[in-house]
């Protein structure tokens, strides 16, 4: 029976003929790809909304000094890139049916994600406690330095980085679940969790330059 099904599949197996697996990938993986595309649109809408507000404002605060903000966000970027690499190694190990190694590599990936989260939360607390940044009001010291600056700075910053942080957190939990139950998971499941993780990394590649690198404080006031 199954050989018949496979024969039928082969008959219609060129690129656009449909069949049971139209793209030669499993249905779960296709589902993850479609989710990634829609999530990418969510993030692009947020980032383009941020650019819109910034362009239509008279002034925009550029408060990120080299220490701690820029150095922290750069290290966070390196963490995410490194964790993407370890995730690829996990998927490679899983493709070789080496589940123990795959689990270890996933553990390393989760470590990268947790480091990212810790540094990011430190950075948020720095902005909230040391400066007094709020979603819809700027700190008084910032308004002195950048008169007429848009109060929406906090809203865009917290919304975009917050949503990204939420994605990283879900990614870590998802990877933890996969690592715990890796003996009952197929290679495809590991690969799908990898896809999600790389997507989180990919989004940060746009958040980092647009939010941080375009708001560098070149002459921070001495404390």
């Amino acid at each position: 029976m199954s050989t018949h099904a496979h024969a039928a599949e082969r008959l219609t197996a060129d690129d656009w003929s449909g069949g049971t697996f139209p793209y030669h990938i499993g249905h779960k993986k296709l589902g993850m790809w479609l989710f990634i595309v829609s999530d990418a649109l969510t993030f692009s809408a947020l980032l383009i909304g941020y650019c819109y507000v910034r362009v239509s404002s008279d002034a925009w605060p550029t408060p990120f000094a080299f220490y701690p903000s820029i150095i922290f966000s750069t290290v966070m970027t390196l963490c995410l890139l490194a964790s993407s690499f370890t995730m690829v190694m996990a998927v490679a190990a899983s493709a070789r049916r080496d589940r123990r190694k795959a689990r270890r590599w996933i553990g390393a990936t989760m470590l990268g994600g947790l480091t990212f989260l810790a540094l990011h939360i430190y950075e948020w607390l720095h902005l909230i406690n040391d400066y007094g940044l709020k979603p819809f009001t700027l700190p008084a010291t910032w308004l002195e330095r950048w008169p007429q600056a848009s109060p929406l700075f906090g809203a865009t910053f917290f919304a975009i980085t917050g949503l990204h942080m939420f994605h990283v957190l879900t990614g870590v939990l998802y990877l933890g679940y996969i690592a715990l139950r890796i003996r009952r998971k197929t290679h495809e499941d590991v690969e799908i969790s990898g896809l999600y993780w790389h997507f989180v990394d990919l989004v940060w590649m746009f958040v980092f330059p647009l939010i941080y690198l375009l708001s560098v404080d070149f002459h921070p006031p001495a404390h």
Partner: protein, 192 residues
């Protein structure tokens, strides 16, 4: 179909021709509409004019889909969409993984170098527009590397890439329709 039902096949052929003619007519109509708008709009770079042009061209494109698909099925566009000879049999989605550790290390190195370049760029004080272009350009290269190698898209079927990526790019480009409005808002200030 046409071998078993000769007359029916002929009828279908006729219907195909009529359908294609109607579709081409509509597509041409929308192109004419877009061109008229370009000619008649006082200020082409206004949000209304850009919107009308874009929507007309989009509708023209949609009406072109059926004739193009028909032409493709009749072997008129074969070399345009030639597949890359991927005829591996499907066995309930076999495990498919390509790429070596060395390759992934090279990609990781490239991504790290690009990141460092971006941070250095941020500290060279260049005009904002140039800076934005450079940063977004570098980020797009990084995103392409991640998509192609880490997300394995380079080794998947091209049909998957064609399904996912152009749609995403078109939707993101449509979001840019808001930008003329943001410049207009800046000009509407009563103070200053």
């Amino acid at each position: 179909m046409s071998t078993r039902f000769g007359s029916l096949g002929n009828l279908m052929k006729k219907q195909d021709l009529i359908l294609n003619a109607i579709c081409l007519l509509f597509a041409a109509g929308f192109v004419v509409m877009a061109l008229t708008n370009v000619r008649r709009a006082g200020n082409f770079f206004s949000i209304d004019s850009l919107f009308i042009t874009l929507v007309s061209l989009l509708l023209a494109g949609i009406f072109m889909v059926i004739p193009l698909l028909w032409a493709y099925e009749n072997g008129m566009l074969k070399n345009l969409f030639a597949a890359e000879g991927d005829d591996t049999p499907v066995e309930a989605v076999p495990v498919h993984f390509e790429g070596t550790t060395k390759l992934f290390l090279v990609i990781l190195g490239a991504l790290l170098i690009l990141t460092v370049v971006e941070v250095l760029l941020a500290y060279i004080q260049v005009p904002l527009v140039l800076m934005l272009t450079l940063l977004v350009g570098l980020s797009l290269i990084k995103a392409a590397l991640i998509l192609a190698y880490f997300m394995h898209l380079r080794y998947e079927r091209m049909s998957l890439v064609y399904t996912l990526i152009p749609m995403l790019v078109i939707c993101i480009c449509l979001l840019f329709i808001f930008f003329p409005d943001s410049f207009r808002q800046l000009g509407l200030r009563v103070y200053r």
